[in-house]
Amino acid sequence: MNIPVLLKVLGALALFLAAVLLTPLPLSLFDGDGAQGSFLGAAALAAVVGGGLLAGTRRARPELGYREGFAVVTLGWALFGVLGALPYLFSGHIATPVDAVFESLSGFTTTGATILTDIEALPRSLLLWRALTHWLGGMGIIVLGLAILPMLGVGGMQLFRAEVPGPTADRLSPRIQDTAKLLWGVYVGLTATEAALLLVGGMDWFDAVCHAFATLATGGFSTRNASVGAFASPYLDAVVTVFMFLAGVNFVLHFALLTGRPRKALANEELKVYAGLTVAAVAVLMVLNAGSLYRGFFENLRYSAFQAVSILTTTGFGTADYELWPAACQVLLVLLMFVGGSAGSTGGGIKVSRILLVVKHAVVQAWSLIHPRAVRRVKLDGRPVPDAVLQGVLGMLALYLIVTGAGAVGMAALGVDPVTAVASVVACVGNIGPGLGGVGPADNYAQLPQAGKALLTFCMVLGRLEIFTVVALFFPSTWRK
C-alpha cells in the first residue's frame, strides 16, 4: 500500500469538500439564520485537514494501484461523512457526533435515513446541505459504479464498465475522467429538468432544488417532515415518481438515449427487467390495496406507484404510510428493498442485473439436471457472462445476505425490537432510508441507541460500496508495503 499517495488523494478530496461546504453560505447569509459560522468553521477545518495532508505528502509517488483504489474509495466516503457532519454539529441542531455522522453519511451514501425528529425546524441552509450531500454522493456513485468498481472487479461489476465513446487513451485515469464528465452531464441535466418541472407544479425554488437533488441521487431527504406527501399534489407525486424511476436506470443508457441511440438503450435486458419489475410491483400493490384504503383507480395508482418506485429505486421518499397497508404489501416492499436499482444507477440494493444473473444461473443449473450433457452459458444482452462475473455476483449476494443477517442480530442485541432490527439493517445496507416498525415511513432513526446508529452508519457505507470494497480493507495484506 502506497500510504502517502492515499493520504494525498484524501487531502485533495477534503479541499474539494471545503469548497462545497461554502455553497450553502450565501443562503445562510440571505436568510440570516445564524448558521453561517458553522459552514465557515466546517470549511476551514476541512481546508486545514486537506491542506495538511497535501503538504505532508508532496513527495508521494503518484502510483495508484488496486489496493490504493479500495482504500481511497472507502476512506474517501468516510472522510466526507465526518467532514460533512461538522455543520450539523457546529450549528447545534444535532447534538452527538454519532448522530451527526449518521445524518451526513446517510446523505453521502444516498440512503436518506434521518435521526431528525423535526426536519422543518432546521434552517434552510442546513437543509440545502443535506440535499447537497445526496447529490454529491450520487455523482460519486455513478463514477464508482461505472468506472471504478468495474476496474477493481468488485461483485461482477466488470460487466458494467461504461462504454462511453470518447478519446481512446491507453491509461485508465483520463478515460475515467472523460466518462465521468459525460455521465455527470446527464445527471445534472436530469436534475435541472426535474427541478424545473417541480417549480411548474408549485414548489418554491428551494424545495424544488432540494427534492431534485434527493431524487436523482435516489436519496430521500426531504425538506418536510411528511416528505413529498406534505405537498399533497398528484402532479408533484407523478413527477417525483417518474424521476425516481429514471434515477434507478443505468446512466450509460440515459447517455445512449440522449445521444440518439435509443435502440441500444431500449434493448437493454436489465432495463426491461427493471421496468417489468416496477410495473409488476405496482400492479400487485394496487390489487392488494384495492378496496381497503384508496377510493378509485387513480388514487390507488398514485400512492401504490410512488411507494413501490421509491422503495425499489432505494430513494425512500414517502407520500403514504405503508405500515397501514396490508401485511402482504409490507413484505413485498421489504423484498423490493433487496432488489434495488439498476447497475450504474444511483440506486442501492443488490441491483436488478445481479438478481437477474443469479436467477438465470439458477435456471441453467436446474435445467442442466435434466440435460446432463448440455453445455449452456448464462447470457446477458445476448452476450455470454464470464464465469468470473458470475462468481463475483454470487459472492456479493452471499456477503450481502450475511452482512444483513449479522447486522440484524447486532441491532437486536442492542435492545431493538426484532422487526425494527431487521428492517433498519435492510433499509441501511440497501441505502433506502425508511424501513418497518420503529423506522417506518412515519418514524425516524432518532430513538435508536447510539451504538445502533453507529452500526447502521457502517452498514450504509458497506452497502453503498458493494461490500467487497470495504471488506478488502480488512485483509492485512492490503496494507503491506
Binding site: 440435460h371 446432463p372 450433457r373 448440455a374 453445455v375 449452456r376 452459458r377 447470457k379 445476448g382 455470454p384
Partner: protein, 449 residues
C-alpha cells in the same frame, strides 16, 4: 471461351472436367507432378506445371486472352495472389476459393470488391447452404429454388410404400391436370435418365420434380410424402458447417440440438448460439443422444470434420428413429456409396463449391444453375430471347435437344408448368433440366452460349 483453372484438387479437377465437356478451352495449372499426370490422362485439357501465383506460368497459360480465371488451390493466399495477377492481365471474371472467414464476412478488411475479384467462394459456406436447403425440406434429397423461390426443383426418394411407385409417367399424366408438375429426371442405380411416357417409377429411384412453390403441399400429398414440417433438428459437429446450419435453423425458430465431442467447441457454441441446446457428447454415445430426443428428430445433419463419423452417425440416427439423416461427405468414393446405405442425402464441400463456381461462370443468358446428384445433371434458368429461330412454335413442334426438358416457365412473373402446347414467348424465363452432355446444345438452343 478460354478458362484458366488454378489447382487440380477435387474442386479444380471437377470444374475443369465439366467446362471441357461443355466445349470450353480449359487450362489447368498444378504444381504437383503426380496430380498433373492424372489430369493429363483423364481430362481433355491443357495441363501446365507450376503455381498460379507466378506471372510467367500464367502468361504461358494464355492469361491475356482468358475470359474466366478460377483459383481453387487449398491455400487462400495463393488463390488471392493468382486472382490479383489475373486482374493485372485484364481477365474479366476472376473467382477465388477462400476458406478464411476473415475475407468473406461483412465489413472484411480485404473483401472481394476491394481486391477487384468478382467472386469469393467459401467451400464451408457453400456446403452449409446446401445442407440447409435439403434439411429444411422434409423428405427431399435435393432442393433448388428458381425465379426467386417461386419455382422449386425437388428430388424425392421413392419407396415401395409410395403411391406412385410402379406407375408410368403416362399414368401420372392424368393426375397432373390436378397437380401441375414435371418429372424432370429419375436417377436409378447411379444413372440419371430423362423419362418418357412409358418409363416406370420404381422403388429406390429418386424422382426430380419441377413445380410451382405454392403447389408443393398437394404434390407432396400425391407422392404420399410425410406432411409433417421439419421442427426438430439435430446437428452433429459444431465446426464451421455445423454452426452455420444450427444457427440458420435456430433463427428459423426450429428446435435445434448441436452435439460435439469437444468441450471447448461446446463452450464456444453455447456462447454464439441462442436457444439451441448444445450437448457435449460423443456421437456414438447413443443413450445420451436418445435421452435428448434423437429418436424424435425430424432431421439429423452429420457435419463433423470426419466423414466416416458422419456416415456412421447418420446410420445410427436412422436406426434409432430419426426420420432423415444427411451427412457431410467429401471423398468422391463415399459420395456415390452413401445413397445405397440408406442415408437420405450427402453433401460434399468440393462438389458444392464446384457447382457454386459453375453457376457463376455460366451466367450470361443463364440466370441460375443448380446441380443434381454429384453433377450428373443440371438445372438452368434461361431468359428467352426474341431472335430465336423457333420462336412462336409450341414446344412439341420444336426440335428440343435430347437429354433436356423444360420444367417450368415464368411468364410476366407468373409461374406455369408447360405442356406440349405451350409456346415460349420472348421475356419468359424457362427452367430447363439437362444432362451434362446436352448442356452445350441447350445453351446453343437458347442462344446463351
Amino acid at each position: 471461351m478460354r478458362v484458366i483453372v488454378v489447382g487440380a484438387g477435387e474442386v479444380g479437377f471437377h470444374i475443369a472436367e465439366r467446362l471441357s465437356v461443355e466445349g470450353h478451352d480449359v487450362v489447368l495449372l498444378e504444381h504437383d507432378r503426380q496430380r498433373l499426370r492424372e489430369v493429363e490422362e483423364r481430362l481433355n485439357v491443357l495441363a501446365i506445371e507450376g503455381s498460379g501465383a507466378q506471372a510467367e506460368r500464367l502468361e504461358e497459360a494464355g492469361v491475356r486472352s482468358t475470359q474466366v480465371f478460377i483459383a481453387v488451390t487449398d491455400t487462400d493466399e495463393v488463390n488471392l495472389v493468382a486472382c490479383l495477377l489475373a486482374r493485372e492481365y485484364g481477365v474479366p471474371i476472376k473467382i477465388a476459393r477462400v476458406k478464411s472467414i476473415g475475407y468473406t464476412t461483412r465489413g472484411a478488411v480485404l473483401s472481394a470488391e476491394k481486391l477487384g475479384i468478382e467472386l469469393f467462394i467459401n467451400p464451408l459456406e457453400a456446403v452449409a447452404q446446401d445442407l440447409i436447403n435439403i434439411a429444411g425440406h422434409a423428405a427431399a434429397v435435393e432442393v433448388a429454388e428458381f425465379a426467386e423461390g417461386r419455382i422449386l426443383f425437388v428430388g424425392y426418394p421413392i419407396t415401395e410404400a409410395n403411391p406412385v411407385c410402379g406407375l408410368s409417367l403416362a399414368d401420372l399424366k392424368d393426375l397432373r391436370t390436378m397437380y401441375p408438375f414435371v418429372v424432370a429426371a429419375i436417377t436409378r442405380g447411379g444413372r440419371t435418365l430423362i423419362p418418357r411416357g412409358d418409363d416406370l417409377i420404381q422403388a429406390g429411384d429418386h424422382v426430380f420434380l419441377v413445380l410451382v412453390a405454392t403447389d408443393l403441399p398437394s404434390v407432396r400429398y400425391l407422392f404420399g410424402l410425410d406432411q409433417r414440417e421439419v421442427r426438430r433438428v439435430f446437428v452433429l459437429g459444431g465446426g464451421p458447417v455445423g454452426f452455420r446450419v444450427a444457427s440458420h435453423f435456430e433463427r428459423a425458430g426450429l428446435q435445434v440440438r448441436v452435439v460435439d465431442a469437444d468441450r471447448a467447441v461446446c463452450e464456444k457454441l453455447a456462447e454464439d448460439l441462442g436457444r439451441a441446446v448444445v450437448l457435449h457428447a460423443d456421437f456414438t454415445d447413443v443413450d445420451a443422444l436418445l435421452a435428448e430426443g434423437l429418436g424424435r428428430a425430424d432431421v439429423l445433419v452429420a457435419a463433423t470434420a470426419d466423414e466416416e463419423t458422419n456416415i456412421l452417425a447418420a446410420l445410427l440416427a436412422k436406426r434409432h428413429g430419426a426420420r432423415r439423416a444427411l451427412s457431410l461427405v467429401d471423398r468422391p468414393a463415399y459420395v456415390s456409396l452413401v445413397p445405397t446405405l440408406g442415408i437420405d442425402a450427402c453433401v460434399s464441400p468440393r462438389l458444392s463449391t464446384a457447382s457454386a463456381i459453375l453457376k457463376y461462370v455460366r451466367r450470361g443468358g443463364v440466370l441460375s444453375v443448380a446441380t443434381v446428384e454429384e453433377n450428373q445433371a443440371e438445372v438452368l434458368e434461361v431468359l428467352i430471347d426474341e431472335h430465336l429461330p423457333w420462336a412462336g412454335s409450341p414446344l412439341k413442334a420444336v426440335s428440343f435437344p435430347k437429354g433436356a426438358v423444360v420444367g417450368a416457365v415464368l411468364r410476366r412473373d407468373q409461374p406455369l408448368i408447360p405442356t406440349g402446347e405451350t409456346v415460349l414467348q420472348p421475356g419468359d424465363r424457362a427452367v430447363v433440366f439437362t444432362l451434362p452432355d446436352a448442356v452445350v446444345q441447350v445453351e446453343n438452343f437458347f442462344g446463351t452460349a
